[in-house]
């Protein structure tokens, strides 16, 4: 396609992307550098059905004057990014100087909300993505080998986890692992420990969420791999069979190299999806044991009665940067291949 045609072809999408993705990101970025003005409070008498007390309220007249003058808030630079609830620069320095062993230092750092969330998010990504690729590939291969007649219903059954809304899927599992649910009660019986709860233990909650993640995302990998498998040429495979290559050798030397670009694509998309893990935490009511970066943003925006826009914006920006760092190796590799292909 000539560049000019491509330009006109891409223009509507490009404009929509700038309008609905680019500008909001810029606005979020700007927001993250601002904090609220210093609150002007005054002492007043408050009376309710239970009696009167003297306590403080925000002085709205004074506050609205300040707000009108500077509607964005107080410029805070990287203040929000470096505070204790985000990168916690000062705290980490302090821990480094005060703790005696490296283990104690790590313990202290992972107790900070941002790092706690980052560790869960990364763990989730690192366990879910490869397993999704592997499981998706195995399912695609096996389905590709069964008789055509029963393939349709089997494919439908396999992509069911993806069709089920994440929240519903996680809720169903949540009830099953309840200490009185079918899985939870059986595990208690099996382990002979009536106090065992999948929901109260941090490790078990993480494992549950990761298994759920693999279950939910595998169909996506499967669908893409299955489509790619249909394009594998039959001649080299037949030739390999005549040469006496085993099934494993055929997959390793013919099928995998053929669908390799698709694997990269699926890996990219899953990494991005998994880095934004959020729904299962809500579905499993796992806020206590597992927090992800997306959950932190949600928490800042809705769980507080006071909305923390600056905090939420800063975490959003760091999530975007995090995804970019994670994807960088794959993207660089794709770019290099693209260049050599030319």
């Amino acid at each position: 396609m000539p560049n000019k045609t491509f330009f006109w072809f891409f223009l509507p999408t490009g404009l929509a992307m700038i309008l609905f993705i680019g500008l909001p990101i810029i606005s979020t970025g700007i927001q993250s550098f601002y904090a609220q003005h210093d609150q002007v409070v005054k002492e007043v008498k408050k009376c309710d059905p239970f009696g009167c007390t003297v306590s403080i309220v925000v002085d709205n007249e004074e506050t609205s004057k300040i707000r009108e003058a500077k509607p964005l808030g107080k410029f805070n630079g990287f203040g929000t990014y470096t505070d204790r609830n985000h990168l916690a620069v000062d705290e980490i320095k302090k821990f480094w100087n005060e703790t005696e062993s490296f283990g104690a230092f790590v313990d202290q750092v992972t107790n900070l909300p941002f790092y706690k969330a980052l560790i869960f998010t990364l763990t989730y990504c690192l366990f879910v993505t490869p397993n999704v690729l592997l499981l998706g590939f195995i399912i695609a291969l096996s389905l590709n080998a069964v008789a055509r007649k029963i393939r349709g219903p089997l494919i439908f059954g396999t992509i069911l986890p993806m069709i089920v809304t994440p929240l519903v899927g996680s809720l169903v599992l949540f009830w099953m692992i309840d200490s009185q649910g079918i899985i939870g009660a059986n595990i208690q019986n099996l382990m002979n420990d009536p106090y065992l709860s999948l929901k109260s233990s941090k490790t078990l909650t993480w494992i549950t969420i990761i298994i759920y993640g693999i279950w939910h995302h595998s169909p996506f990998a499967f669908v893409v791999f299955y489509a790619a498998l249909q394009t594998v040429p039959q001649e080299p495979i037949e030739a390999a069979i005549i040469d006496g290559a085993s099934r494993f050798q055929r997959i390793k030397h013919i099928v995998l190299p053929h669908i390799y670009p698709v694997v990269t694509f699926v890996a990219l998309i899953s990494l991005m999806d998994n880095f934004r893990v959020f729904e299962p935490i809500i579905g499993f009511s796992a806020e206590g044991s597992a927090q992800s970066l997306s959950w932190l943003i949600y928490d800042n925006l809705v769980n507080e009665e006071v909305i923390l826009f600056g905090s939420a914006a800063a975490t959003s920006m760091m999530t975007i940067i995090g995804i970019a760092i994670l994807l960088a190796p794959v993207l660089i590799r794709t770019w290099k291949e693209f260049k050599t292909a030319r």
């Binding site: 408050k46 009376c47 609205s64 106090y195 709860s197 929901k199 006071v306």
Partner: protein, 406 residues
């Protein structure tokens, strides 16, 4: 033809029109939490809508919608049913209007004690009171010869006895779901220990002390007597636990007593379910509970006509003797003519015992949020009480700095 139309219109509107609510215009849109008493209240006010538009949103997620919806101009809702804690963000952002003139003009039946005044201005009209108090299973306690617990120490002892008897494995329940619910339990217990959340006259936190540690230790003791999934249990979940007969002692909202004592579920459990006042803790004389009111506020960013229509409809309900007589077991109404029944024991006891109201401070929401996430690891046994309290204070300080309170 015209006659028929007029008759039809009369049938439609004529029957519902009350003598004292002759609202001719305006539109009413209410945002409220979702529990039976509030539904009754809003339904009652709807009967008074006259020819005004009437819409209502009942949602348990009301806290998340309120500030954005009322910030818009004109705002989505003309009224918000709020409580001690949820009125604070509305006040902080200057989103609700003073009601003095409307009360003077249309608030005839409203009692003075219902008015929430801040700095001399009426900002809300309360209509019901709420608190968290103890529920117990009379049959279980009687069988084991346990007296009705008056303190949390007695609750722990009683629960241990029930567990030892083999009757129930997890005899105690309270809404310990990580987040708002868990923080609320901390707030109750801390106040029961005589704690103050902030250093007097400032927004500096004041929980990392002996009272805070005692609070956490008591919460932990109770959590060990609860279902191991306690960190995922909200009020609804423990209600279900109670109705399945798994629990003999429970701390729950007074406003939920109606659904516990209704005809649904096992009649034997319902019969044995009894209410008592909130418990004290650590030898303190005020209960480890907070008093709450629910009341209505009017949006500032809405036309005066809408505000007037909304106020008239809601004031009709907030002074409705018939409503409080008919729905006497749904809530402890603050409306004139309410005769407290057996289901109001909890709140009335709490008031008698001198329970404190939930602190209506501008920065309290931030403290509540920090508590909800930072004390979880202590309950899981992953860190010490001192460390958890230090974390709460640090998380709070960062948030309070961002919000300009420190």
């Amino acid at each position: 033809m015209r006659k028929i139309l007029v008759t039809l219109l009369f049938l439609l509107f004529g029957t519902s029109a009350f003598a004292d609510c002759n609202i001719k215009s305006g539109s009413i849109n209410i945002l409220a939490n979702d529990f039976p008493a509030l539904r009754t209240f809003v339904e009652t006010s709807k009967k008074c809508k006259g020819s005004a538009d009437f819409k209502v949103t009942h949602s348990s997620e009301h806290n998340k919608i309120a500030v954005p919806a009322l910030t818009a101009n004109p705002s989505e809702f003309s009224a918000r049913i709020a409580a001690n804690s949820s009125i604070v963000p509305l006040m902080n952002q200057d989103l609700i209007r003073p009601l003095d003139d409307l009360v003077k003009k249309y608030g005839k039946g409203i009692q003075d004690s219902q008015l929430i005044t801040i700095d001399g201005k009426v900002m809300a009209v309360a209509f019901m009171a709420n608190t968290q108090h103890l529920y117990y299973r009379e049959d279980v306690l009687k069988d084991l010869g346990i007296a009705i617990p008056k303190t949390y120490e007695e609750v722990v002892a009683a629960s241990e006895k029930i567990r030892a008897s083999g009757k129930m494995q997890y005899p105690y329940a309270a809404a310990y779901k990580a987040g708002w619910n868990l923080a609320e339990e901390f707030v109750n217990m801390f106040i029961g220990h005589g704690g103050e959340f902030f250093k007097s006259g400032s927004a500096q936190p004041n929980i990392n002390n002996a009272k805070g540690v005692a609070t956490l230790n008591m919460l932990k003791k109770l959590s060990e007597l609860s279902n191991p999934d306690y960190l995922t249990h909200d009020s609804e979940a423990i209600k279900v636990e109670w109705e399945s007969g798994n629990v003999a002692l429970m701390t729950l909202w007074a406003s939920r007593s109606g659904t516990l004592l209704d005809d649904e579920g096992d009649p034997n459990i319902t019969k044995a379910t009894k209410l008592t006042g909130p418990a004290t803790v650590g030898g303190g004389n005020i209960p480890a509970a907070t008093l709450w009111w629910d009341g209505f506020t009017l949006a500032k960013n809405r036309s005066d006509a809408d505000a007037e229509a909304t106020f008239r409809a809601l004031a009709h309900a907030a002074s409705n003797k018939k409503m409080v007589a008919d729905a006497a077991d749904q809530a402890v109404w603050l409306v004139e003519g309410f005769v407290p029944g057996p289901k109001s024991i909890g709140v009335i006891e709490a008031v008698k015992m001198g329970a404190k109201p939930y602190p209506m401070l501008p920065q309290m929401g931030l403290m509540h949020g920090a508590l909800g996430s930072e004390i979880v690891e202590f309950l899981q046994g992953k860190e010490s009480a001192e460390q958890a309290l230090k974390d709460v204070e640090a998380a709070y300080i960062s948030k309070a700095k961002e919000q300009g309170f420190l």
